[in-house]
Amino acid sequence: MGDFLPGTLDMLILKTLSRGPLHGYAIVQFIHDASRDVLAVEEGALYPALHRLEVRGLLRSRWAASDNNRRAKFYALTASGRRALSQESDYWRRVSAAVTRVMQTA
C-alpha cells in the first residue's frame, strides 16, 4: 500500500473510517476487499499513515475490545477528518474524471 499516488492512502483511510471506527487490520481488510485485491501491497505502511493522521488531528484513537475480544486500537474520524475527507473526495473526483477524459480522448 505504499506505492499509491501521494496522499491517496490517507484519503482511503479517511473514506474507510467514514463508515465507523475500525482497527488497523480491519482497515487493511476493507481496502483490500473493496478494491477487489487490487490495492494490497505492504500492510505495514498503513501504520505510519494512521499515526500521522492522528497527530494532524484528523483521527482519534482508543483501545477497545475487537470482535474476537482482543485488545485493539480503534481509529475514528474527527470533525476535521470529515472535512478533510470531503475536500479530498471532491479533489479526487475532479482529478480522476480529468485523467479518465484524457485517457479516452487521446
Binding site: G2, H23, G24, Y25, V28, A40, E42, E43, G44, A45, Y47, P48, H51, R52, V55, R56, W63, S66, N68, R70, R71, A72, K73
Partner: protein, 886 residues
Amino acid sequence: MSLFASVVHRLAAIARRRRLDRDLDDELAFHLSMREADGRADGLSAADATRDARRRFGNVTYLKEQTRDMWTFQPFERLMQDIRYALRTLGRSPGFTIVAVFALAVGIGGNTAIFSLMSASREAALPYPDAGRLVQLWGNVMRAKVERRGASYPDYQDWRAQAKSFDDMSAFDSQWITLVGGDESERILSEDVDTSYFSLLGVAPALGRTFRADENVASAPPAVVVLSDGLWRRRFNADPAILGHSVTLCCAPRPYTVIGIMPAGFKGLSDTAELWLPFTAWASADVLAARGARGFTVLARLKRGISMSTAQADLDMISRRLEQAYPQTNEKRAVEVSPLDVELFGSLRPALRTLMAAVSFVLLIACANVSNLLIARSEARQREIAVRTALGAGWRRLLAQLVTEGCVLASMGALAGLALAYAATRALLATSPVTFPSFVTPHIDLRVALFTVAVSMACGIVLGLAPAMHARVSRLADALKDSARGSEGRSSQRVRSALVVVEVSLAVVLLVGAGLMIRSVRNLAALDPGFDPRSLLTLHASIPRTAVGTGPARPVVEGRALLDRLRAIPGVSDVALGNDLPLDGGAGASFYAAEGMPPVNAQNMPRIYVHRVTPGFFSALRMPLRAGRTFTEAEVSPTSPAVIVSENVVKRFWPGQDPIGKRIKFGSETSNNPWMSIVGVVGEVKYRALPENPTADPDMYLPFADRNALVGIVVRTTIPPASLAPAVRAAIRSADPSIPVYSVATMDDLTGQQTAQSRFTMWLMGIFAACALMLAVVGIYGVMSYLVAQRTREIGIRLALGADHGDILRLVVGNGARLIGAGIAIGIAASLALSRLVSTLLFGVTAADPAAAAAVAVLAAVAVVACYLPAARATRINPIRALRYD
C-alpha cells in the same frame, strides 16, 4: 502541521514515550496475529501463516521507526542511540578503549595546556581594561644598531605635551628601597610613577587616594607614598588609621606620608611592586632637569582608533624636532612605541608557538594511532557493518554512527585531557624556569574549553572518517562471504602503512626538535661568561650611613670590615664587593674618552659600563688578567686615578700597544673630569646578559670606596654555595643589625635565569618528543602485529615450504623497516625545513647537528624493536595451525 505544532507535539510525547512505544508494539502485534489467524483459517500451516503475515506486512523495524518518528526528535534520538551504541561497543573492548583514550588524552591535554598558556599571554588577558591600547615608549639611540635607553624627564615632558596620539602618559621606573622600622628593615620594590599611572592602568585605590598632579612636580614635591594591600597588611596590620601617618624610607631625607592603599592583587607593571612614589620624589632636581639622563620607560594609552603606526609617526616627528632643538643630547635619538603585551610576553611567544606546533604533532600522531586501531577494528566489524547495511541502514546512517563513535572516543580523551591539562599547567607554572606574570594562573576558561571541544570534535570526525572511508573502499558484499575473510584489501594496508609513515615522520620532527633544544641548552650552559660562575653566592645589602660629628656621612660598616667578617666564615674561599655584580641587572653606563682618540659622533661615541669593585673581585670571580695588575689596597679610595678596563677598550684605541699607563676620562676628551690611568686589563665578561651582552660596550672597573649605599657581595665557596647563605646573612647582621640583605642567589641561579626560556622550551619539547616516540612506537607495534596476524596463513605456507626463521624475520622486519625508513626520510626533510623557523630559539646549533642524528638513531632503534617483536612471534607460527587459521 506547522513546525511549531510538531515540536510541541514531540515535546509533549517525551513524557509518554514509553507508553507510546508499547502501544505501537501492541498495535502491530495485533495486526500480525490477526493476519496469522486468517492465514490459518485459509488452511496455511502455523509456520506458513507467520511467514505470510510478515511478508505482507513488510519491514517491521523500518515501519516502526517510521511511525515512531512521528513523536520523536529524530536526529537527536538517533544521536542518543548512536552514542549508546558507541559506548556499548567501546565497553566491549576495554583494552582498545583504554589505549585510545590514553593516547587522545595525551594529545588533547597537551594541546589544551599549551593553548591555555598562549591564551593567558595574549593582550586581552592582561589584567587592565582595554589593554590593547596600552603601550610602552622607549627612548632609543641609533648606534651601530638601535639600542634601547629609555627616556629622560625633559624628553618625557615634551612627548607628553606635544604628542596627539595618546590619551595619557606616565613615566615609570622601579627601584629597591628600604622600609625602615618595625622588627626588621625590609627591602621592597617601589615604582616611581606619574600621577596618571593609576588611571592608565584602570585601577583605583582601595583606601585613600593616589597622587595629585601637584605632587608630581620637579620642584619641591611633597613626600607622599601609596602602599600595596600586601605591604599594608604585613607591616601595618591592615590598620586604616595609617592614612596620614608617615613611614621612613631609606635613605630619604624626610618621612613619607601614606595617602592611599591599593586594592589587593595590584602589584603594578613590575608585578612585584609594594609601594608607589611620585616620579619626581626620588630623583634629584638636577637629574630631572638633565635631558641626557635617560633610563626610564613611559607607559601610555593610545587614543581610541589611533593605530600603532600613527602613534609612531607622531613621536618620530617630535623626536626630529627635539633633535634639532637639542643636538647635544638628542642627536640620533628616537622613540619606540611597543605594545604592552609584547613587552610582557613578546620574548616568550616564539617558544610558545613552537611548542604549540610540537604538541599538535603529538595529537596528530595520537590520532593516526587511534585511526589505525579503529581501522583494525572496523575490519573485524566488516560483517557487522555489512549486515547493518543489508538490514536497511543507509550509508549516511553508518557514517554518522562511525563518526559518533569517533567523537565519543575523542570526548572521553578530551575529558581525561582536560584533567591532565589542568594538572600539567599547574605543575608547569610552579616549576617553570620562566617566571610568568602573577596574573597567569592555571585555569580552564571558556576560551580554552571551546578550544578543547573544537579540537576533540575535529579528532572525532577524523577518527570516524578513517574507518568509514576504509569500509567504503572494501566491497561490502565481499564482507558477507566467508572467503573474503583471510585476505585484507590492499588499499586498507596502504592506508595503514601511510599512517605509520606519517607517525614516524612527525616523531622524527619532534625528536630532532628536542635534540636541538637540548644541544642549545647545553651550549648555553657551557658558554664561557668570562668568569667562573660555579660555587659563587651573590647577595646585596643596603648599608645605612651615619653622620659622625660634622664630617661626611659614613657607612655603619666599612667595606673592608665587612670583607674580613665574611672571609672568616668556614667554607668561604674568596669574597669581594662591587656596586653591582654580573647578571644582577644593576650595571650602568657612561660615555668616556681615550687620550688622543680620533673625533667621534653620537653613533660611535665610546660608552662603557662602570663597576666599582674591591681588589679581590677579579680573583674571586676568576676573571683572567690580560695585562698589568689588579688594584692595590692603597688605591682603594674615591679619588684614586687607577682604572682597570676590559680588553675591548685596548683593542679599540691601542691595538698592539702596551695599554698600561694609557689614560681615559669620563665624558668627552675636553671635559673637566680627571684623567684615569690604566693599571690592568681583564677579559671581556658577559656582565649584563647571557648568551651575549645586549650591547657590545666594554667594562671598566674602579676601586670600591664605600661611596655606594648599595653593595653587591660575591662569595666563592668551597661547599655548595646556597648552603652558606644563612651564615653570610648572620655575619652581616652581626656587623650591623640595621643592614637589610636581599636578592640572595647563587651565580648558577642567575645564569639559569638568563637561559630560562631555552630550558623551558627544552623541557616541554623533550616531554612532547617522548610522548611522540612512545605513541609512534605503540603505533608501529600495533600495525606490525596486525600485519603479522593478517599474514598468518601466508607465513604458515612459507614455513611449510621450507622458509627458515631468518627468512620470516627478514620478511616482517623488512616490511616495517621500509615504512620506518620512509617516515624517517620525510621527517628529516621536514626537520630541515622547519628548523629554519625556530632558529631564534636555538643557540649554536643547526638541524645538521649530531644531536639531530642521535635523535633519529634513537627513533630508528626503538622502531625496529617494535617491528622485531611481532616478527619474532611470526617465526613461531605453527604451519599446520596457520593453514587451518580460517
